[in-house]
């Protein structure tokens, strides 16, 4: 009975906020995945909107390539707004 595919569930908790990944579940198809997500993840009024996505559709970065992916950003401090001094007297910044 473990033939049901896996789905990732995203819940928007309030209007104006983004959908946030909350977990995964099994369901035979998209329609039932949405129903299951409602039952498993929004029983306590956690959300106003739900997305379900087949887990197989998610392309993830490889943990083994983490250094190549993320480390080069480490020494580029000028990408952070705090790198820049704001001159005295500049308005609307």
């Amino acid at each position: 009975m473990n033939a049901w595919p896996l789905w990732e569930v995203f819940v928007r908790s309030r209007r104006g906020l983004s959908h946030v990944h909350v977990g995964s579940l099994h369901a035979p198809d998209a329609e039932l995945a949405l129903r299951n997500a409602r039952d498993v993840y929004t029983r306590r009024q956690e959300g106003v909107s739900l997305w379900v996505v087949p887990s197989s559709s998610i392309v993830a970065s490889d943990p083994g390539e983490r250094d190549a992916f993320f480390d080069p950003a480490e020494d580029k401090v000028y990408r952070h707004p705090t790198f820049y001094d704001v001159p005295e007297g500049v308005e609307h910044l």
């Binding site: 099994h26 035979p28 039932l32 039952d39």
Partner: protein, 241 residues
């Protein structure tokens, strides 16, 4: 006409006994997700039963609470239909029965919302949204099982055949009814048959079962269900969580 205690008990007991049967599935459903879904549905029904039992107790005027009515009545005092009281260890039967009960409740509660009984209208206003989801759940499964494999189709058809004879009891007249059960028949049957046909199943041609739940006449199964449901409360009177 004033609302009768028996009428409210009938609606309450349908919900209560169905909730108890639904709870059997907890830890037994084919997948964890379905386990949670059926438990949610059972809890919705239990919530409806509690509100209705409290109101029935008030109408009776003998000071009985929801717990008194749920835990201290014997089977002959229960007013639920036979549809909900028989065991449902088959998933197809569970879905067929839910489709029938929830569709009936959906029409019933919708009619009660605009009825002259303000208490029932209030209870129905909340319940009507809950049972809309129950109908949806039962419908989606009926479609998938009916239009699924040869085996699922055959089992879903068999489930419909076994439950169909018990549909008629839902429409039997009850004294002091706020919404005449007979007035719901066409719409309820129309909606159920629509789902059956959409699921590539056929509408069973079977004679109605005898029934008698509204008069306190039950199958042997209700006694066993009540024994389990009432055991704790009767062994430890006044026990609370």
């Amino acid at each position: 006409m004033t609302t009768s205690c028996d009428y409210v008990l009938a609606l309450a007991d349908d919900a209560l006994v169905s909730a108890q049967r639904m709870s059997w599935w907890i830890s037994r459903a084919p997948e964890l997700e379905e386990d949670v879904a059926l438990a949610n549905i059972g809890l919705d029904q239990l919530g409806q039963a509690r509100a209705l039992l409290t109101y029935a107790g008030a109408l009776e005027g003998a000071g009985r609470t929801e717990d008194d009515l749920a835990y201290l009545r014997d089977d002959r005092e229960f007013r639920n239909v036979w549809l909900v009281e028989r065991p449902q260890p088959d998933f197809g039967v569970t879905i067929a029965r839910l489709l029938m009960l929830a569709t009936w409740q959906s029409e019933l509660y919708a009619a009660l919302v605009s009825s002259s009984d303000a208490t029932l209208a209030g209870i129905a206003g909340k319940a009507v949204k809950e049972v809309a989801y129950h109908v949806d759940h039962a419908r989606l499964w009926t479609l998938r099982l009916g239009d699924g494999t040869e085996v699922s189709h055959a089992r879903m058809q068999a489930a419909l055949e076994s439950e169909w004879p018990h549909l008629e009891e839902l429409f039997a007249p009850v004294d002091g009814a706020v919404v005449d059960p007979r007035s719901l028949r066409d719409r309820v049957m129309g909606r159920i048959e629509e789902v059956v046909v959409e699921a590539t199943l056929s509408v069973p041609q079977v004679a109605p079962a005898i029934g008698g739940g509204r008069r306190g006449l039950h199958t042997e199964h209700l006694g066993h269900l009540l024994a389990e449901m009432q055991h704790l409360h009767r062994s430890h009177p006044g026990a609370t969580w």
